[in-house]
Symmetry: C2
Subunit: 200 residues, 2 copies
C-alpha cells in the first residue's frame, strides 16, 4: 500500500500480528496511536519494553512475577503452603484468585500435554512440580487444568506421577455452571453433573 | 489485582485504553507480548515510537506522510492535479485508493463539522483547502465525506465556501451498494438510489 507512510505501515503490521487483531482493527489501533499525546505513546512503548524485560517466572510456582525471589503468593505467610493448585496458564491463577475461595499456593505448568502440538512433559514445568512435592510439606494437589481433553490428559498424567509421593491429588468438580440454564448445558456436562450429585 | 506483576498490569492497562479493546482482550494481548521473542517486542515498541514521531501531515493535502515535503500522491506527476477529493480521514484516502478508480489528488479534513462534539470549521483543515483552491489550477472538488448527517453538513458547508472560486463541486453518488440485496436497503438509501437513477 504505497499510500500509507512506511512507519505507519510497520505499526499496522505489528498490531496485525497480535492474536485476534485483524487488518482492519490493526489499522484502527495504529491510527489511534498516532493520535495519542507523545508522552502517552512513549509510555505505551516503554510498558512493552519493561514488561518483556522485568517479568520472569517465580522460582517456586512458575507463575509470572517481577524480580528474582518467589512471587507475592508464594512468599505470603497467610497462604496455606500445604495445598497446591496446578493450572495450565498464569491467567488461570487470576481466575482462581478472583473467585476468592482459594487460599493455597499454585503451580503454573505453562501449557498442557498435547501430542498433536508436540508438547510433551519436558515442555511444561512438570519437573519443578515434582521437586516441590518431593521436598515434602504438600498435602494436597488440586488439578485445575481446563475441563477439555488435553487438560484432562494432563491432570491424569500428573496424578499418576505424584501419587507415589503419598500426596492427595484432587480435581476441580465438573457440573452445570452457576447461573446457567439446564436446557443449554451440553450432554457431557449434564452427565458429569448427575454423576457428581450431592446431598442437600 | 495484587497477583498480576505491576509491569504486566501496566501493559494490560495500556492495551485496555486502545479503542475496541476490552479488559479480557487487553490481558490476552499483554500476555502475548510477554511470549514474544525479545527482539520482536523491541521492534513493536520501536514501531510505536517511530510512527508517533515520523508521521506528519502533508503540507498540501494534509494526509499522513513522513518527512517534510508533500506526500507521494501530491508529488506524483501521474496524478491529475486538477481534481481534489475531499475526505474526512486518512483511512478514507486508503479506501478511495483501493477502489483504483480515482487518479486525482486528495484533501484530508481530519474530521467533520460536528456542533454536538464542538468541532467547528477552525478545528478542521478547511483553511488549507481554501488556500489550495484560491491558488488556482483546481477544476473540480469531489466531496467524499461520509454519507451521514455530519458528513453531509460538512460537504454542503464546503461547497458554499468553495463555489465563489468558480470551481466545480460534486458529491459521491448515493445508491444501493454493489452486491447488496434490495430488501435489506434502508428507505433513505432506496429513495436516493431512485432519485439518482440513470439511463442504461
Amino acid at each position: 500500500m504505497q499510500y500509507l507512510p512506511p512507519a505507519l505501515e510497520a505499526l499496522v503490521e505489528h498490531f496485525n500480528r497480535l492474536p485476534g487483531i485483524g487488518s482492519k482493527s490493526a489499522q484502527r489501533l495504529a491510527f489511534h496511536v498516532l493520535d495519542l499525546p507523545p508522552e502517552e505513546a512513549d509510555a505505551f512503548a516503554q510498558a512493552i519494553l519493561t514488561a518483556r524485560r522485568a517479568i520472569t517466572s517465580c522460582p517456586v510456582c512458575q507463575n509470572l512475577t517481577e524480580g528474582d525471589g518467589p512471587c507475592s503468593i508464594c512468599s505470603s505467610p497467610r497462604r496455606d503452603a500445604s495445598t497446591v493448585c496446578v493450572v495450565a496458564d498464569p491467567r488461570d491463577v487470576m481466575a482462581m484468585e478472583r473467585s476468592g475461595e482459594y487460599n493455597g499456593l499454585y503451580h503454573v505448568l505453562h501449557g498442557v500435554l498435547s501430542p498433536m502440538n508436540h508438547v510433551g512433559p519436558d515442555d511444561l514445568r512438570i519437573s519443578q512440580l515434582v521437586s516441590r512435592v518431593a521436598q515434602g510439606g504438600i498435602q494436597e494437589i488440586i488439578m485445575a487444568t481446563n475441563p477439555d481433553t488435553e487438560g484432562e490428559t494432563t491432570a491424569v498424567y500428573l496424578s499418576r506421577l505424584l501419587r507415589p509421593f503419598g500426596v492427595r491429588v484432587t480435581r476441580l468438580a465438573y457440573g452445570v455452571p452457576v447461573g446457567s440454564h439446564l436446557e443449554h448445558a451440553d450432554d457431557a456436562t449434564l452427565a458429569r453433573a448427575l454423576e457428581g450429585r450431592q446431598e442437600i
